[in-house]
């Protein structure tokens, strides 16, 4: 008797679980009170500092939930560890889609990691939203992959902004480029060429490095020999700092450009301490998110909100780490999108909403920026602003600029 009863309970529980994952409306991951969103991030392994993007997004969802959620539903964001290994991303994503029954995949980090799941998600018609990578294909391939959309400006358009700016202010520049030898670095390099247009010949040398190498000393020494007066650092994290140190060591005084991913206030601060303010001051980069480490934002409502959320919902979060802010920015846009998609959520409805964004009030983006997409424009953020390193912080200059990929 007893066993029978417990069996019955187990069966009922299983039925409820199935209903929960299939959703009351037959839409996976959606119930009358919740929306289940999934994603992966490198919670362990070499790239784990970037996991803050997922943690920041999670904090923002918790904040939204505490204030009534989206159309009465709370967002549950389940992010799994892929250790930055695309094969793990595949496994995690299958789990999220097939076992947990998520409504959509959101904010998965890494170019290869997203490439690995793009075909699967599109074939399953599961939205792959606001990919945390600036690979150009997310926005460019929308006809073939309608369920996939990126978020941050593509590396190609970032490179383009630098190219156009150099062509304008220094049409006789001699440009040397240090780039990471993968899709990330090559996209930036190609963008630079595109931005220079007919002046591509200004690039006197481009040297790649493998991200698994210990340093970039040899490459920088080689670029130094070209007597270039303009030096592009298209690197990741510590390699950018090493590039600065080598520039100082070699007695080179070029105008330095450093790509946004490697230009956080933290990293440039480290570079300034070790390579000297003389070398770093005057470096140019671009920005699109507000940098929480920049003191000039201290009174800004967006950054104040960021600090409040971080303190309340992200235990252990570093209040100066821009990755958290980046996560919150994309979470803001997702909430916005879900709101637009309406009470009767469907996957196709959300995909449609992502192609129809016009969001001018994202508090984590620079003032004046609009997250805008259209039927033929699947690049949510295309605006950015040039900034110059003062020796202690970034100072933005010029207006917002736009580059189409």
């Amino acid at each position: 008797m007893r066993t029978k009863l417990s069996l019955l309970i187990a069966a009922a529980a299983a039925a409820v679980a199935v209903a929960a994952s299939a959703g009351v409306f037959g839409v996976p991951g959606v119930t009358s009170s919740s929306i289940l969103i999934g994603g992966t991030a490198p919670l362990s392994g070499e790239a784990s500092s970037a996991a803050a993007v997922a943690k920041g997004a999670d904090g923002y969802f918790k904040y939204v939930n505490a204030h009534g959620g989206v159309n009465g539903r709370k967002i549950v964001y389940k992010y799994l560890d892929d250790a930055y290994d695309p094969a793990k991303t595949v496994e995690d994503t299958r789990q999220l889609v097939q076992q947990d029954g998520v409504f959509a995949i959101f904010n998965t980090l890494g170019t290869n990691n997203n490439l690995a799941i793009r075909d699967f998600l599109n074939q399953q018609k599961v939205p792959q939203l606001f990919v945390a990578s600036g690979f150009t294909a997310w926005g460019a391939d929308y006809r073939r992959y309608p369920y996939t959309i990126g978020y941050i400006p593509s590396y190609l358009s970032e490179g383009q902004v630098y190219g156009r700016y150099i062509a304008k202010v220094k049409p006789k520049a001699r440009i040397a480029v240090l780039y990471q030898d993968d899709d990330y670095g090559k996209d930036l390099l190609n963008g630079l060429k595109k931005g220079l247009g007919s002046r591509q010949g200004l690039i006197v040398k481009a040297a790649g490095y493998d991200p698994t190498s210990p340093n970039v000393d040899s490459q920088v020494a080689d670029l130094r020999q070209t007597k270039a007066d303009t030096f592009m650092i298209f690197c990741f994290g510590k390699f950018a700092i090493q590039a600065y140190i080598n520039v100082a060591k070699l007695g080179w005084h070029p105008q330095i450009y450093v790509n946004a991913v490697a230009a956080s206030t933290n990293l440039l601060g480290l570079a300034t301490v070790t390579a000297g303010a003389k070398t770093t001051t005057g470096s140019i980069s671009i920005a699109y998110f507000k940098d929480p480490a920049d003191p000039s934002w201290a009174k800004d409502p967006g950054i104040q909100l960021f600090q409040k959320i971080l303190k309340r919902y992200v235990p252990g979060g570093n209040p100066k780490d821009g990755y958290y802010a980046a996560g919150m920015a994309s979470a803001f846009t997702l909430v916005d999108t879900l709101q637009k998609a309406g009470k009767n959520l469907s996957r196709d409805g959300v995909v449609k909403a992502t192609a129809n964004l016009n969001e001018a009030n994202n508090p984590f983006l620079l003032p004046g920026m609009v997250v805008k997409t259209g039927p033929a424009d699947h690049f949510p953020i295309e605006q950015m602003q040039l900034e110059r390193w003062s020796g202690a912080r970034w100072l933005r200059f010029g207006g917002l600029v736009t580059a189409k990929s």
Binding site: R94, Q95, L115, A116, D119, D183
Partner: protein, 328 residues
């Protein structure tokens, strides 16, 4: 027990195991069969490693790199030449086997530690070579396969192959060849005094082992439907070796435990640490899975020098012993 009875018992056990294996995906969640398929892939790679390391005593820390050769064979054939992905599996195995034979020739001169160092180098350097060979491999972007299979299909394919390869490994180990391998492992000098050509057999062992790794790599690529230099990181090579050791090198039964370890322990690491740790630790931290994994390896090597198979043997169901252990 008469020989006949033992044989029928053994057959019955194999039958039951096969029935359980066939029914398993229908008893568990759909996604679990995906994970079990992946475990099967690791099992195949570990079986190959076991022949090399367990039976001839040659260390390889580079089996992830051999898997990647099989993986790229499948990806290139399937995506650029329109071959159905499952037909590429034997080819991937053979090609990787040939590469293994080729690597076996220099490896001959390297014993023990030196071979470990060389294969470690192979594991570290292969991704950058694959990245460089852009025309074929599409560089760091990688190759998508565009063919998706249900999890049950993946499970079926993987475990059918795993079973076949298990039998093959069992036959090799029991045959004259297997005895030669073991003789070489135990004393190369003694074996060559008895007329065994060490060079030939050690190279052959490398080839067979790479053949297994190639098949595993092909299946891994089919399962992921994607391959890039990053899908075969150095950690994969390390995990495979660890799995083989946990399984107890030189015996077949523990390999299942080793494969299960490689598939499931890293995923559940932070949960496991949170559950067993007496203190309130920040188990969401980035280092936790590595700490647990490393700790398990260290403790296992110290506590169970002959791996999980040794434990099984000691706990001792006679059936398992008869099924799997090497003939005396």
């Amino acid at each position: 027990m008469s020989g006949r009875l033992a044989w029928s018992l053994r057959l019955a056990a194999v039958g039951v195991a096969a029935a359980v294996a066939a029914a398993l995906p229908f008893l568990t969640s759909d996604f679990l069969s995906f994970q079990l398929a992946r475990m099967g892939i690791f099992l195949i790679a570990i079986m190959g490693l076991n022949i090399l390391t367990g039976y001839t005593g040659q260390i390889s820390i580079g089996h992830g790199a051999f898997m990647s050769i099989g993986g790229y064979t499948t990806a290139v054939l399937a995506s650029q030449h329109g071959v159905a992905d499952y037909w590429t599996v034997p080819l991937a195995g053979l090609l990787t086997g040939l590469v293994g034979l080729a690597f076996g020739v220099p490896a001959l001169r390297l014993a023990g530690l030196y071979l470990a160092l060389a294969t470690f180098g192979v594991a570290v350097a292969t991704p950058s070579i694959e990245k460089r060979w852009e025309g074929l491999t599409k560089g760091s972007t990688g190759i998508s396969l565009l063919s998706f299979h249900s999890n049950h299909w993946l499970y079926g394919l993987t475990w059918a192959l795993a079973a076949g390869l298990f039998v093959l490994a069992w036959l090799i180990v029991r045959s004259r060849l297997g005895r030669t391998f073991k003789a070489l492992r135990d004393s190369e000098v003694a074996a060559s005094a008895m007329g065994v050509n060490p060079a030939f057999y050690k190279t052959l062992a490398f080839g067979i082992s790479a053949f297994y790794a190639g098949i595993a790599g092909a299946l891994y690529t089919i399962q992921n439907a994607y391959v890039s230099p990053d899908t075969f990181p150095i950690t994969l090579s390390l995990y495979l070796l660890i799995g083989a050791v946990i399984g107890g090198l030189g015996s077949m039964a523990g390999l299942l435990a080793g494969a299960a370890f490689v598939e499931f322990v890293p995923i559940h690491a932070s949960g496991i640490v949170a559950a067993i740790s007496p203190f309130d630790l920040n188990t969401k931290s980035a280092g936790v899975p590595s700490v647990l994994l490393g700790l398990v390896v260290v403790v296992l090597v110290l506590a169970l020098p002959d791996g999980a198979a040794g434990l099984l043997r000691r706990v001792g169901s006679p059936l398992t012993r008869r099924l799997y252990s090497r003939p005396p």
